[in-house]
């Protein structure tokens, strides 16, 4: 951090130079083929396979249980392959088909949690990626008075754990003026508590994301931007039409991790949301158990549904994932 004005830094997320790919593909690579003897191979499998079973088994059981009636979920020995699989858990959870009285009494089904989660996670992802990119571009490519001070401040706050700002933010959210029955001084109502604003707005900027995107943007040659300026493009146009398209991999990584983080976020929605209709999926599911509701088949069905978007995102963006994780070291 000695001199931030120096722009000739190789960014962490920079696209690999073209020759690196060919180099990496050289025969043999770092793991020499044919070096693994048969005995070693056998030993490897003897360790890998049982561990893999241990890792997958809980998950397999979750899926199986989500298709079982409550009676066999509680049965001993456990049922791995249900004799007659049922969709009751899913139906109960999504509030479709024939419902028990208890479910009807509940009003809406718990499916609302997923709609909430999807809405909140997508909003945060889109807004955060955009705002992060805006900031990152200014920090990487513009020279303006105060730039370094502001950037260092951003970086320094990456050291502050979320728990420290959690409590004051709860009070700040509660006192947002003009919302939730508050007057202009922010008193009287509940502000953004129990509202989607409160879930989304604090999450639309991330110092870490700005840092990563800035590192990436440093690799864009200034000449390119100058050429666009000479051609008469405005700053917003340069940002939108020149910079953003060049940063697609970094933007994708930022978006994926943000979505994952927002979908999984637990603590913040737990403390600011209380209306059961407005809970996000993780909080809804967790409270399900903490409040000792006994319909575990619904819970398991809900858990599977909550996991699906994560798996989907992972499968679609697998390549980005593994590379992004290796580079940035975040899980989201």
């Amino acid at each position: 951090m000695t001199d931030l004005t120096e722009e000739q830094r190789v960014p962490a997320l920079a696209p690999p130079p073209p020759d690196r790919r060919t180099k990496r593909r050289r025969p043999g690579g770092s793991r020499g083929e044919g070096y693994v003897s048969l005995r070693a191979k056998l030993a490897t499998y003897l360790i890998l396979a049982p561990v893999a079973i241990l890792f997958v088994a809980p998950f397999a059981w979750l899926i199986s249980a989500s298709f079982q009636p409550i009676s066999t979920i509680f049965a001993n020995p456990p049922t791995w392959l249900p004799d007659d699989p049922t969709l009751d858990g899913y139906k109960g959870f999504l509030n479709v088909g024939e419902l028990t009285e208890a479910q009807q009494a509940q009003g809406h089904g718990d499916w609302r949690w997923f709609a909430n989660s999807a809405f909140v996670a997508i909003s945060i992802t889109v807004l955060q990626t955009f705002f992060n990119a805006l900031c990152a571009y200014a920090f990487a490519k513009r020279r303006f008075p105060g730039r370094n001070v502001i950037f260092v401040l951003f970086l320094a706050t990456m050291m502050v754990p979320g728990q420290v700002t959690l409590i004051p933010n709860y009070i700040i959210i509660q006192n947002i003026p003009f919302f939730g029955g508050n007057d202009w001084l922010g008193n009287g109502g509940h502000g953004w508590l129990d509202s989607y604003w409160g879930l989304i707005v604090p999450g639309v900027v991330s110092a870490f994301g700005i840092f990563l995107l800035r590192q990436y943007m440093l690799s864009i040659p200034d000449e390119l931007l100058d050429a666009a300026r000479v051609d008469g493009a405005g700053e917003l146009r340069i940002f939108w039409n020149v910079v953003l398209p060049l940063c697609t991999p970094a933007l994708a990584a930022n978006a994926i991790f943000t979505f994952q983080g927002a979908w999984e976020d637990f603590f913040w929605p737990l403390i600011i949301m209380s209306d059961p209709e407005k809970l996000t999926a993780p909080v809804g599911l967790a409270l399900f158990v903490v409040q000792n509701r006994t319909d575990w088949n619904l819970l398991f069905a809900g858990s599977v549904i909550a996991t699906l978007p994560m798996i989907l995102v992972f499968v679609i963006f697998q390549r980005h994932f593994v590379r992004g994780i290796a580079v940035t070291g975040i899980k989201g």
């Binding site: 770092s30 890792f55 700040i172 967790a286 909550a306």
Partner: protein, 316 residues
């Protein structure tokens, strides 16, 4: 980190200021669009990070209850209370226990799997996916699922351990004073190993093959190659995982909330869970903020290290 650079920067800026003092306003005006670019970020950041941080500090000197209108200044009372609070000390010890157990375990298993998977064997992709599956699963879902697996009556753990006669009578995993924390650690390791493995695999693939070959020519066996070539060269990866892991573990909350609610008798009450209790069960925001600052202090060393790692990653 910012403190270390401050003098240098100040000097450089003073120089700039002298020479361009008159032009400053003009420069600000010329670059006005840049300020618009950073405006959304700066506003959000000022409110929810900077102001929040200062407010949190302010809270630590007050008795601030959400339900009472009176919020008196109490000086350093909160800090004094904290030092003498046995439950707080307990929560610190629990957090250290959790971190000390889960971080090394996750890393060692991750490294082992990465080493095995770094060979040319069939089915690598399948194994990698299998180990990575728990990482993709939402953490709350993992915690719920494991809570069920640990269930004393119907849980799969007890069933299979009894069947294989490893234990004679069912264990009360999460409600037993001595087993609750290990049980939470085990679940955490399960969900974190895949991440360590992927990062280690990336590190392993950056090690040049020539090094292994020359070590082999020198007569080094597999174990010696791992001990004297692989592990030293993975040092940056290990350091990275260690720092990230410690930071994450010191803030453990979700699995505690879902699986044990801090029990039995505070055996799994970690620092963040204890803070949660004070803020949102006892409604004392002042004391809860003080607890948060204690965590901040513990984390500071590790986050400073983390920023260094990021910086190195950005400059190399």
């Amino acid at each position: 980190m910012s403190r270390a650079v401050a003098p240098e920067k100040a000097e450089a800026e003073a120089g700039t200021r002298r020479s361009r003092n008159t032009g400053l306003l003009r420069r600000v005006w010329r670059e006005r669009s840049a300020y618009l670019f950073i405006a959304p970020g700066v506003i959000i950041f000022s409110v929810f990070t900077l102001a929040a941080l200062m407010f949190a500090f302010y809270l630590t000197f007050h008795r601030w209850s959400i339900i009472e209108p009176d919020k008196p200044y109490v000086g350093t009372q909160n800090y004094q209370d904290m030092i003498h609070d046995e439950r707080f000390v307990r929560s610190v010890l629990n957090t250290i226990y959790f971190t000390g157990a889960s971080v090394p375990l996750t890393m060692i298993i991750g490294l082992g799997l990465a080493l095995l998977l770094n060979q040319q064997i069939r089915g690598r992709a399948i194994f990698r996916t299998a180990y990575y599956l728990p990482v993709v699963t939402p953490f709350v879902v993992s915690a719920l699922l494991w809570k069920w697996l640990y269930n004393g009556e119907f849980g799969l753990f007890n069933y299979y351990l009894l069947r294989t006669r490893i234990i004679d009578e069912p264990l009360l995993w999460l409600s037993s004073q001595n087993l609750a924390m290990p049980a939470v650690v085990l679940m955490t390791v399960w969900s974190g190993v895949g991440f360590s493995m992927v990062v280690y695999l990336a590190g392993l693939q950056a090690i040049p093959a020539q090094l292994y070959e020359s070590a082999k020519l020198d007569g080094a066996g597999m174990w010696r190659r791992i001990r004297y070539v692989t592990i030293p060269l993975l040092r940056p990866t290990t350091l990275f995982l260690l720092v990230i892991g410690i930071i994450g573990s010191l803030q453990v909350f979700t699995q505690i909330f879902v699986m044990t609610s801090g029990g039995p008798v505070d055996r799994t009450t970690t620092m963040v869970y204890y803070m949660y209790l004070w803020a949102f069960k006892y409604y004392d925001m002042g004391y809860a903020s003080t607890l948060a600052f204690a965590l901040f202090a513990m984390l500071l060393v590790f986050t400073a290290l983390q920023l260094r790692l990021f910086r190195d990653g950005g400059t190399q």
